[in-house]
């Protein structure tokens, strides 16, 4: 199988190593049905031409506000939601062309953890059964004993006790449930873990426990993360590189520190300046964005951000900016910022 065509590469990193995951021009349009005949009356452009690469061992953070398409992007990559168009290449294989069996096999290497660990754990199964299920589906264990041994090992890896395997999800706190979700994902020894708002539902002290656990696991098992979150401080802490999304498009991709120190896109800049800093001695200039995020059913023409952009010019509503490499490894989609 061949790698994606280089000319389409919008956000490839300069390093030569082949990316573990490549996403090219990914789109997902949800149909809105209405009327008594349930005709398609409109479309939501949830993901509107997203491209990026993830190298093995790195963490790509994806940030953006509600409705920017970050979660849909994550789910489209696993084909939990079927994308409308675009390409997803994982370990050199074309995910979009996979049949059911190939997809199932692929998902052994690509797992996902969700925001709400209660909704994603079957309440009627014990923790042992929840974690063991994946081992059975992928035929990774030969006997019951072997399965139990592996479950115990996984529970210990994520900081839970072996006797927890006989309990049910409701007996655990939010942080512990998220650990169970992580253990389940790790059961099949994946290479890429898509973390969809994994700590958003947790209290800060517990959030830190889970972030530290994810960092430890990455080091221990050489995992690669696609880390989707709305909390910029969390994303900045854990990511190697960060993609900023706005209304279905990636507006900027850069190494984490560089994005925070010298953002290029006016949206990234405003987003960063809006984050409250837990230190009363730090006084920053805040760039206040006017208004709300526009309706994704009818996104603004041209650059989606022009309606709220402090530096917008007349032609921003006409021409759609493309992601350009403005500095080495630092891509942004803006006509007027370099």
């Amino acid at each position: 199988m061949s790698a994606p065509v280089a000319s389409q590469a919008a956000a490839t990193t300069p390093e030569t190593a082949k990316p573990l995951l490549s996403v090219r021009d990914l789109r997902k349009h949800f149909a809105i049905r209405g009327g008594i005949l349930s005709r398609v009356v409109d479309k939501v452009h949830a993901v509107d031409g997203v491209s990026f690469d993830i190298k093995a061992g790195e963490t790509l953070g994806v940030v953006g506000e509600s409705g920017c398409g970050k979660s849909t992007t994550g789910r489209c990559i696993l084909r939990l939601i079927e994308p409308s168009s675009g390409e997803v290449w994982f370990q050199g294989a074309d995910v979009m062309k996979m049949d059911h069996n190939a997809l199932q096999a692929m998902r052994r290497d690509m797992q996902i953890i969700f925001q709400d660990p209660y909704a994603s754990l079957n309440p009627r199964l014990t923790i042992g059964a929840i974690i063991g299920e994946a081992l059975i589906i992928h035929k990774l264990v030969k006997s019951r004993q072997e399965m139990e041994d592996r479950v115990v090992q996984l529970l210990e890896t994520v900081g839970l006790r072996p006797d927890h395997m006989r309990r049910f999800p409701h007996e655990f706190s939010g942080g512990q449930r998220q650990r169970i979700g992580i253990a389940r994902a790790l059961a099949v020894e994946p290479k890429l873990l898509i973390c969809d708002e994994p700590v958003s539902a947790l209290d800060v002290s517990i959030q830190a426990q889970v972030i530290n656990l994810l960092e430890d696991l990455q080091e221990q098992f050489g995992l690669t993360y696609l880390f989707i979150a709305h909390d910029l401080s969390v994303v900045e802490h854990i990511s190697t590189r960060i993609a900023v999304m706005y209304l279905g498009r990636v507006v900027e991709i850069a190494p984490a520190a560089e994005l925070y120190d010298t953002p290029i896109h006016p949206y990234s800049e405003a987003l960063l300046s809006a984050v409250p800093i837990p230190d009363p001695t730090v006084k920053r200039k805040r760039i206040m964005l006017e208004g709300d995020v526009p309706n994704p059913i009818r996104p603004p023409s041209g650059c989606h951000f022009h309606t709220r952009c402090p530096i917008a010019r007349p032609d921003c509503s006409q021409r759609s900016p493309v992601l350009e490499e403005k500095r080495p490894g630092h891509w942004a989609a803006c006509h007027y910022r370099d």
């Binding site: 800060v204 830190a208 426990q209 401080s233 987003l271 809006a274 409250p276 995020v293």
Partner: protein, 323 residues
């Protein structure tokens, strides 16, 4: 000493459940002076919301009950007041806004009707005047086209706009105290910045005090003058915002501050987050002594023997710790 606007003393709000008594608020002392913003911070289940709702007596009784304590509003205890007497204080003197504005607005009435209702409760006005007053309030909270929007229903507003409507409603009687219970938690960060700025503007305009309940330390650092930190139904630390962030004394406060990732620190200086081990205790049977002891890295034998008192460690800086 000037009498505080609100002075909560030894408040215990407990809830009777099938499993026993939940001591959600278990001896809380806090006060708010006129015109100041007090942050009440803590994690889920620490009792911050129950404390706030106790002030307005918005607790269902039963299962809840006031076990002990006083809630002194300008020197007068609210706990013995009847519902009729409380109605004179609610909205007019103390107003509250909630985390999820959609569930606190009535979906079948226009926002204008809902704000006008509050205005009409406390001032004798015709319906037309009250609606005009509502539109004026919407203008004040920066909602575009207020004369038109006043006739819209809550679902026609975005989350941030709904929170503006809630603020407009809360401020329409010019209360002396605004209780804001996680007002920006459900909002995106750029919208959060707008709402926090609006609250600041409104505070300067009306000179009211704000009790800001939140779990977000960043929001506290940027908006409050004083902070009360709660843990498992108790106040563990109280200090000016500068002292709390500059010199946190309770191990829980220290842990809370160190467990937050910081955007403003460059990546090279990035350290591993200092997580607090364990989870919050069960409030059905709170542990004897300091409730944080089981998670505290400095815990000693004495910590589990009795609840330490709040002691003053600096001017206006109180901490509930034996250290």
């Amino acid at each position: 000493m000037v009498e505080p606007l609100l002075d909560i003393r030894g408040l215990k709000t407990w809830f009777k459940t099938d499993d026993g008594m939940v001591r959600a608020v278990d001896g809380v002392d806090l006060h708010i002076d006129r015109g100041e913003t007090l942050g009440v911070v803590g994690e889920s289940g620490c009792g911050k919301t129950v404390t706030a709702r106790s002030v307005l007596k918005l607790i269902d009784m039963p299962p809840g009950r006031f076990e002990a304590g006083q809630i002194l509003w300008q020197g007068r205890d609210l706990i013995p007041l009847s519902m009729d007497e409380m109605d004179k204080i609610r909205a007019k003197e103390i107003a509250i806004i909630f985390q999820e504005p959609m569930t606190s607005l009535n979906p079948v009435y226009t926002v204008g009707d809902q704000i006008a209702e509050v205005i009409a409760l406390h001032q004798k006005l015709s319906r037309k005047q009250a609606i005009a007053g509502a539109a004026e309030m919407l203008r004040l909270v920066n909602i575009p086209n207020p004369e038109r929007r006043v006739h819209d229903y809550p679902h026609q507003f975005s989350g941030g706009m709904r929170q503006r409507v809630m603020i407009a409603m809360a401020l329409s009687c010019q209360p002396k105290l605004l209780i804001a219970d996680e007002p920006t938690t459900a909002l995106d960060v750029t919208i959060q910045a707008q709402i926090l700025e609006l609250m600041q503007e409104m505070k300067e305009r009306f000179g009211m005090a704000i009790m800001l309940i939140t779990h977000a330390m960043g929001v506290v650092a940027e908006t409050c003058q004083r902070v009360t930190v709660m843990y498992a139904g108790n106040v563990v630390e109280e200090a000016s915002v500068e002292a709390l962030f500059g010199d946190p004394r309770h191990p829980y406060t220290q842990g809370l501050i160190r467990s937050i990732p910081r955007v403003d620190r460059s990546a090279e200086k990035k350290q591993r987050l200092e997580a607090i081990a364990g989870t919050v205790p069960n409030l059905l049977e709170p542990p004897p002594g300091c409730r944080f002891a089981a998670r505290c890295k400095f815990a000693m034998d004495v910590c589990t023997q009795g609840l330490p008192p709040l002691k003053e460690v600096g001017p206006g800086h109180y901490v509930r710790c034996v250290l």
